[in-house]
């Protein structure tokens, strides 16, 4: 194994990790507060409802959203060790202010937990009695949870003690007061200034990658569910990937297997007019945008007024019998595939012909070609055997560079011809801000590109002896 190749492959491995991380961080982002949306849809509770927050915390726990994001987190020493989920931002702010002010993370955590526990108890009581005292006490509780870091808590405690309507809640108040006193007793505010890394094995990335409450995990090829339809993303994309990949790989294969021999033929013939003609074709093909070509093709070959040879959209006849064999299905689809395939191929073909032609033309003036001529070889052997072998590695490297462009180009072609492929899905995911779906698409196309790069490097390594370690 060669050093440079191994280095390159290691870099691809790293970029694979980077793609996984990027797609994870996109997947966990949600438009607005997705939990709110889900709650409203599933539980039918109104936003102003009393126990909305408790429901939200429960749901977050059920879905594993209350876990930390990743294995590691950089924070101060005060903030490490105890994880707690808040339903509203003000409470979260208050909690972190408390941490910064008092620094003793365990006590702060216990206080916040006690507050949440009291909330739960109150919501249970509220269902049964629904008295004004409960309302009042929960008002105090909300105030404590939102402002405990910035107000004088002693006055709050005396106020609750002096309020005779709250006597039945005395045990709860005492519990809260007791945990607050413990918290305020020994502040370690210096802890807020010591940086620390907190580690947690149970986190959202772990769930997303190895399987958790939401999905079976990426390693089981489960990319989660779409937020809007609730469908499994994997089953949603399976057929679409097949269409897109099928089209682009066929196009690459066609373009290169036609383009390279064509270029070699032109160079070996030394025919000037032919050369010019092909050059014009290549420049046109390269310059014409895909959508224009698609529209022209549709206009010419799928138009009842001119030529109505090919169907204009879709990939198979409407209402096709499912009992037909695979070969039969394919045969029925062929007329649907021809126009999109031409659209996919023609710019690639133009690229292949012009690049291969230029690279070959450059080789033809090198000394080893003159030597080959001096050996008495004919022009055909020189081009096909000597020059082409030198041109293949750079050509294949260029292929890796255009592969991402093919994925981008598929968006337009698939929309134009209504092909149920990835390109169509990209547009839909972007428009509806369906982040989990978008992240899955990023993951798939990113990996396809990386695999393509790696394959190309291995192919170049096999073809060019100069990169191999010498036999010595």
């Amino acid at each position: 194994m060669n050093t440079s190749l191994t280095k390159k492959l290691a870099i691809y491995l790293l970029s694979g990790v980077a793609v996984i991380l990027a797609s994870f961080f996109i997947a966990v982002q949600m438009p607005g507060d997705a939990l709110d949306n889900l709650l409203l849809r599933q539980e039918k509770v109104s936003v102003s409802s009393y126990d909305y927050e408790i429901k939200k915390i429960e749901m977050a726990h059920r879905m594993g959203i209350d876990k930390p994001l990743f294995y590691f987190r950089m924070s101060s020493l005060a903030e490490t060790g105890y994880e707690i989920y808040f339903a509203t931002e003000t409470k979260k702010d208050n909690y972190s202010k408390l941490l910064r002010k008092y620094g003793n993370s365990k006590e702060v955590y216990l206080f916040a937990r006690n507050c949440q526990y009291t909330d739960e108890v109150l919501s249970g009581l509220n269902k049964k009695y629904n008295s004004s005292a409960i309302e009042k006490f929960s008002g105090y509780l909300q105030f404590i949870q939102k402002n405990s870091a910035s107000t004088n808590m002693d006055s709050v405690w005396t106020m609750t003690e002096n309020d005779h309507s709250l006597t039945e809640f005395r045990p709860l108040t005492n519990m809260l007061k007791h945990s607050w006193e413990k918290l305020a007793e020994q502040p370690h505010s210096y802890r807020a200034y010591i940086p620390a890394i907190s580690f947690s094995a149970d986190n959202r990335f772990n769930d997303w990658f190895f399987g958790g409450p939401l999905s079976h995990g990426l390693i089981h090829l489960d990319l989660g569910t779409s937020f809007f339809t609730g469908e499994k993303i994997t089953s949603l994309l399976k057929n679409k990937i097949a269409w897109s990949l099928g089209f682009s790989l066929t196009a690459i294969l066609l373009a290169f297997s036609i383009g390279i021999p064509l270029a070699a033929w032109i160079v070996s013939k030394k025919n000037k007019t032919l050369d010019k003609f092909i050059r014009i074709f290549a420049a046109t093909g390269y310059a014409m945008p895909v959508y224009l070509a698609g529209v022209i093709l549709l206009f010419l070959f799928s138009n009842p007024d001119i030529l109505n040879i090919f169907p204009s959209s879709g990939v198979k006849p409407i209402g096709m019998n499912d009992n037909v064999s695979i070969a039969g299905k394919l045969w029925a689809s062929v007329p649907y595939l021809i126009l999109p395939l031409i659209c996919y191929t023609f710019s690639l073909l133009a690229f292949a012909v012009s690049t291969a032609g230029e690279l070959l033309q450059n080789q033809m003036s090198l000394p080893y070609i003159v030597t080959a001529r001096a050996k008495g070889l004919d022009e055909k052997t020189i081009v096909y055997k000597h020059a082409l072998k030198n041109v293949l590695p750079p050509l294949i490297s260029l292929l890796a560079n255009i592969f991402p462009a093919i994925i981008g180009g598929s968006v337009i072609i698939e929309t134009l011809f209504s092909i149920p492929g990835m390109g169509n899905e990209i547009v839909r995911a972007c428009l509806s801000r369906n982040f989990p779906l978008l992240s899955a698409i990023i993951l798939i196309s990113g990996f396809a590109t990386i695999v393509m790069y790696a394959l190309v490097d291995i192919a170049v390594y096999r073809l060019d002896p100069r990169i191999k370690p010498s036999a010595a």
């Binding site: 194994m1 060669n2 050093t3 191994t6 280095k7 003036s365 090198l366 000394p367 080893y368 003159v370 030597t371 080959a372 001529r373 001096a374 050996k375 008495g376 070889l377 004919d378 022009e379 052997t381 055997k385 000597h386 072998k389 030198n390 073809l463 060019d464 002896p465 100069r466 010498s470 036999a471 010595a472």
Partner: protein, 536 residues
């Protein structure tokens, strides 16, 4: 056997037409070795390519007759069809090129490229061609033939590749062998061996040979008859012995007179005992430069290639020190270390007792003004998009506080000093000849009046007459404003001419140093002896 009549080659069309070879007529008899010499640009190589019709037909126009007498019939190669030519090329007329590394296809095993010729012309099967290639390898003294068959060009040395090129050329027993500068790209020691091999094979196979070389020594050594070309025409034609003894044309006379061994320069300083006590301008102490590489993927440990190993020397004021060695011996790396253009890994470099180092702070680059360098290829050393005058004045901008007028006057003064005119100030490098470009490089190095100038193969890429002019220029300049210099070259004759003392380098180490005459007349080490023997 081959007779060339009124051959002329022109490039371009209409007003841009330039005639490179003009009305050339000569013959080569069977078994004769004909030499073709002349300076670069005189049309030697073009002539050889025109004989085999290897020039691009779209850009060049070939006129005249090249009659090749085959066993039975006579063919005019210029009017022959491509098919006939393909049967003659490689079979009846074979060719060896200058640069063996680029003459072989880099992605095909060398042996296969040789077998290909026999498969084409003698219709051998691959297996027979393989066997015959191995016997040919033995004929050109390549040991380990079977292994070398499957090697790629980048895995072989220049000498090995040139042997293979010879094997390829003789594979179909050609009647004529055209060797275009076969040893110019090789080391001096290799050159001698290859020439000997070529001569033996020519005599063994009874081939006629057209040897093209700018090096009169090679021609003298190898040929029976010589053609001297000047600007596309024949300047002189005669027997080899005759032409070197009594050259008739002025051009040939000047070529012979400009050979380094025939030159006489007042560049050397005659050492007296008084000067021995002077402090050295430059002192190198155990200089070492190594380049790291990984032997395998699985080890973190780096291996080192030592380009320069523990080199120590001194340069006295006014002295000229020569550094000699073959390619890969670390000469150029040493030149860069002397200027501290690259950091040294070990050892110290002193300039007048002051330690100098690459990693010194930029403000402390005092020695940049005091030590200057002139490189081998002047067209690579000059910025192609910068006027020559601007290139020369750059050191002044860096080191002196002149205003624009003074600076321009100074540049024009130096242009005159190196034998150019003030009009050259606004020229671009591509408008100058190689010799003029090298003069510009010398002016650029000397304009800030350095104490030491390093000439890194400064005359190796030049034609003999230009080489002589440049050497004379250096001698003149040194007389006017004395400076010490270090002269790096693979050519011992040039070094004998200019150097007071000599260092011989091999594989990064100094194996011998001392006064020039002493080393060249009574060498101690075997390697130095070998170098001296390889002088033709």
């Amino acid at each position: 056997m081959l007779s060339v009549k009124n051959l002329s080659v022109a490039f371009g069309r209409g007003t841009n037409k330039t005639t490179v070879v003009n009305d050339l007529t000569f013959q080569i008899a069977k078994g004769e070795a004909l030499g073709l010499s002349g300076e670069s640009g005189c049309g030697k190589t073009i002539t050889s390519l025109a004989i085999l019709q290897l020039l691009n037909k779209e850009t060049s126009a070939v006129n005249g007759e090249v009659l090749f007498a085959n066993n039975s019939s006579t063919i005019n190669l210029i009017s022959a069809s491509e098919k006939t030519l393909q049967n003659i090329r490689g079979k009846d007329i074979a060719m060896i090129f200058q640069e063996p590394k680029s003459a072989f296809n880099p992605v095909i095993a060398c042996g296969k490229q040789i077998a290909e010729v026999m498969m084409k012309h003698e219709k051998l099967s691959y297996k027979d061609a393989f066997e015959k290639t191995l016997t040919l390898f033995e004929k050109v003294h390549l040991s380990n033939a079977k292994e070398l068959f499957y090697r790629y060009p980048h895995e072989l040395s220049g000498g090995q590749l040139q042997r293979m090129a010879i094997a390829m050329a003789i594979s179909c027993n050609p009647q004529l062998l055209i060797a275009d500068e076969p040893t110019t790209a090789l080391d001096v020691t290799t050159q001698k061996v290859i020439l000997k091999l070529l001569k033996n094979i020519q005599q063994e196979y009874q081939m006629a040979m057209l040897l093209i070389s700018h090096d009169l020594k090679v021609i003298e050594h190898m040929t029976d008859r010589v053609l001297v070309m000047q600007k596309g025409r024949i300047a002189e034609e005669n027997n080899t012995n005759e032409i070197f003894k009594n050259p008739v044309s002025e051009y040939t006379k000047s070529l012979i007179a400009n050979q380094p061994s025939n030159l006489n320069l007042k560049i050397k300083k005659h050492q007296t005992e008084q000067q021995e006590t002077l402090l050295p301008v430059i002192k190198a102490n155990n200089l070492t430069k190594r380049y790291p590489f990984h032997k395998s993927v699985w080890t973190w440990k780096k291996e080192y290639f030592e380009a320069v190993k523990n080199v120590s020397f001194e340069l006295l004021p006014g002295e000229t020190l020569g550094i000699a060695g073959e390619s890969g011996s670390g000469k150029s790396t040493l030149a860069r270390l002397i200027l501290q253009l690259i950091p040294s890994d070990n050892g110290e470099m002193f300039f007048n007792k002051d330690l100098i180092h690459f990693y010194h702070h930029k403000k402390n680059y005092f020695w940049r003004k005091k030590i200057q360098i002139v490189f081998q290829h002047p067209h690579h050393a000059l910025d192609p998009l910068m006027q020559v005058g601007k290139s020369i004045e750059e050191p002044l901008i860096a080191f002196e506080k002149y205003n624009d007028g003074e600076r321009k006057a100074k540049v024009e003064e130096w242009l005159a000093k190196v034998g150019l005119t003030p009009q050259h100030y606004h020229r671009y490098p591509h408008e100058l000849s190689t010799g003029q470009k090298q003069r510009v490089c010398i002016a650029r190095a000397l304009i800030i009046q350095p104490d030491v100038v390093v000439f890194d193969e400064a005359v190796s890429a030049l034609d003999v007459s230009v080489q002589a002019q440049i050497l004379q220029l250096i001698a003149q300049l040194k007389e006017k404003t004395p400076f010490s210099s270090i002269f790096i070259s693979h050519n011992l004759e040039v070094l004998r001419l200019v150097c007071d003392r000599l260092l011989i380098m091999r594989n990064g180490e100094i194996i011998e140093q001392g006064a020039t005459e002493k080393i060249l007349d009574k060498p101690i080490s075997a390697y130095t002896q070998q170098l001296i023997d390889s002088i033709l």
